[in-house]
C-alpha cells in the first residue's frame, strides 16, 4: 500500500477509535425500549375487519353469559360514553397552554386567532400569536380523529413558513411541541418562535402569512394549509 493510502487508512481507523472514545457506546436497548414503549399510544390491536364498526374494538369485552353481558355490557357502554363525553370536552389548546408558560413565551399579550383549516385529514388551528421586537410567537394545534390509538394516528408537521408583511418566508428558530392521544383523537400543540421583522418605520400592526405542511414519510408533502392574519405590533423594547 502506498504510504499516503496507508496513512489515510490509519487516520480513518484512528478517527473511528477516537469518536468511539468521545461518544461512547449506545446504552442497552432494553432501557431505551422501556421508555419508548411507555410512550407509545396503543397496545397491540387487531386490524379493523371489513364490515366492522370502528366502535367494535372499543366495546370488545370478555363476555361469558347473557346475564353477565347485560351487566358488563352496560358497564362497558357507560365507560365508553364517559370517554366520548370526555373527549368532546378535551381541547387541543389544553396542550398548548403549558408550552406558553415557558419564560420565552410568558408575559406577552397574545392575540386570539382561532383560524382552522383541514389538511390531509388533520385539522390545523392557529390559536394565538404575538409579535414584538424580540420574536413572533405563534401557537398552533393539530388534531386528527382516530378511534383507537394506532401508528396511523400520528401527526408530523414540517416547520411552518412565516411571511411577514410580504417579505421573505422564514422557518421558525425554535419549535416546541407536545402531543397526546385523547379518546377519539390524536392532538398535537406547537409553539413557533420566529425572528422579529426588520421593518422600516414603526408599524402598529403586521400582516402575517403562515404556510403549514405535513411531513409525509420523511419529506414534506406538497399540499399546504395557509393562514392569513394581522397582529398588533410593538417595535419598542
Amino acid at each position: 500500500m502506498h504510504q499516503t493510502e496507508r496513512y489515510d487508512a490509519d487516520l480513518e481507523q484512528a478517527l473511528r477509535q477516537e469518536f468511539h472514545a468521545l461518544y461512547g457506546d449506545p446504552p442497552p436497548v432494553a432501557s431505551t425500549w422501556t421508555q419508548v414503549s411507555a410512550r407509545l399510544a396503543a397496545p397491540a390491536v387487531s386490524p379493523i375487519r371489513a364490515q366492522g364498526s370502528v366502535l367494535a374494538p372499543v366495546l370488545r369485552v370478555p363476555i361469558r353469559t347473557r346475564r353477565r353481558l347485560s351487566v358488563r355490557g352496560a358497564l362497558a357502554l357507560g365507560v365508553f360514553l364517559l370517554l366520548v363525553t370526555a373527549a368532546a370536552t378535551y381541547s387541543a389548546s389544553q396542550l398548548l397552554r403549558p408550552l406558553l408558560t415557558v419564560p420565552a413565551a410568558q408575559g406577552r399579550v397574545y392575540t386570539q386567532i382561532h383560524q382552522s383549516k383541514t389538511l390531509g385529514g388533520v385539522t390545523i388551528t392557529v390559536e394565538q400569536a404575538v409579535a414584538d421586537h424580540d420574536d413572533v410567537i405563534i401557537g398552533i394545534t393539530a388534531e386528527r380523529p382516530c378511534a383507537v390509538p394506532m401508528p396511523a394516528c400520528g401527526i408530523a408537521l414540517d416547520a411552518p413558513l412565516l411571511t411577514i408583511q410580504g417579505g421573505q418566508a422564514a422557518k421558525p428558530r425554535v419549535m416546541e411541541s407536545d402531543g397526546a392521544y385523547w379518546p377519539g383523537k390524536q392532538v398535537e400543540a406547537y409553539v413557533l418562535y420566529y425572528a422579529p421583522p426588520k421593518l422600516a418605520g414603526q408599524p402598529t400592526s403586521l400582516s402575517l402569512h403562515l404556510a403549514v405542511r405535513l411531513l409525509g414519510d420523511a419529506a414534506p408533502s406538497e399540499e399546504q394549509a395557509t393562514f392569513d392574519f394581522t397582529l398588533p405590533y410593538s417595535a419598542r423594547a
Binding site: 504510504q3 496513512y7 473511528r16 449506545p26 419508548v36 390491536v45 411531513l215 420523511a218
Partner: protein, 194 residues
C-alpha cells in the same frame, strides 16, 4: 423479508414487532443521533422521540422501499427539531480524561499513543462544526456518503468535499509538515487500539 414482516406487523399496531425493529436498529439510531445532536444527555431523549415518530409514521411507510433511509430521515428530522429547541453547547474538552491512560500501560509507547490521541482530539475540535459532524456520521455512525447527504440535507458533492477538507485539515494539523511524520502519528494512534 423478515424485516418486512416485522414492519408490516408493526404497522398494524403490533408492539412486539416494533420492538424487534427497535432492537435491530438501536445502535444505528443512537449513533446517528449522537453525531447529529452532539449532546450526550440529550441523545437518549432524541432517540426515544425519534422512535415514537417512527411508530406514528410507520403506517405511511411503503414496504417496497428500503427502511433504513426512511428511518435515518426520521432520526434526522427529530435531531433537527431538537437543535431548533436548544442552543447546542460545545462539549468541553475533558483534559483530565486525556491525562488518564485508558490503554495499556507500557511506558513510551503508551505516551506516544496518548500524545497522538490528544493531538487528534485537539485537531477535531479545531474543525468547523459541519466538517466534524460529517466525520462523526462517517466514522462513528458508519453512514455512507449518500446517507450523510440525506440526514444533513446537503448535496452529495458537498458532503464529499467536507469530508475531504476535514481529513486534509486533520492531516495538516497532526503532522509537522512531513508526510513520514504524519504517517507515524497516524500509525501510533492506530497502534494504541491494538
Amino acid at each position: 423479508m423478515e424485516e418486512n414482516n416485522a414492519i408490516r406487523r408493526a404497522q398494524m399496531g403490533d408492539q412486539r414487532a416494533f420492538q424487534q425493529i427497535v432492537e435491530t436498529y438501536h445502535p444505528l439510531v443512537w449513533r446517528t443521533a449522537r453525531a447529529l445532536v452532539g449532546d450526550a444527555t440529550a441523545t437518549e431523549e432524541v432517540v426515544q422521540e425519534a422512535w415514537v415518530d417512527v411508530w406514528r409514521g410507520l403506517a405511511r411507510f411503503q414496504l417496497d422501499r428500503p427502511f433504513r433511509p426512511w428511518l435515518l430521515a426520521v432520526v434526522a428530522n427529530r435531531s433537527r427539531k431538537y437543535g431548533q429547541r436548544r442552543t447546542i453547547a460545545a462539549e468541553p474538552l475533558n483534559e483530565a480524561a486525556l491525562d488518564e491512560q485508558p490503554y495499556n500501560d507500557d511506558g513510551l509507547a503508551s505516551l506516544l499513543r496518548l500524545e497522538g490521541r490528544r493531538g487528534l482530539v485537539l485537531a477535531l475540535r479545531s474543525l468547523p462544526a459541519e466538517q466534524s459532524r460529517v466525520l462523526a456520521l462517517r466514522y462513528f455512525a458508519d453512514l455512507d456518503l449518500a446517507e450523510i447527504a440525506d440526514v444533513t440535507g446537503a448535496p452529495l458533492g458537498t458532503v464529499k468535499s467536507r469530508i475531504h477538507r476535514a481529513l486534509n485539515a486533520l492531516r495538516e494539523r497532526l503532522s509537522c509538515g512531513s508526510p513520514a511524520e504524519a504517517a507515524s502519528d497516524a500509525s501510533s494512534l492506530k497502534a494504541r487500539a491494538e
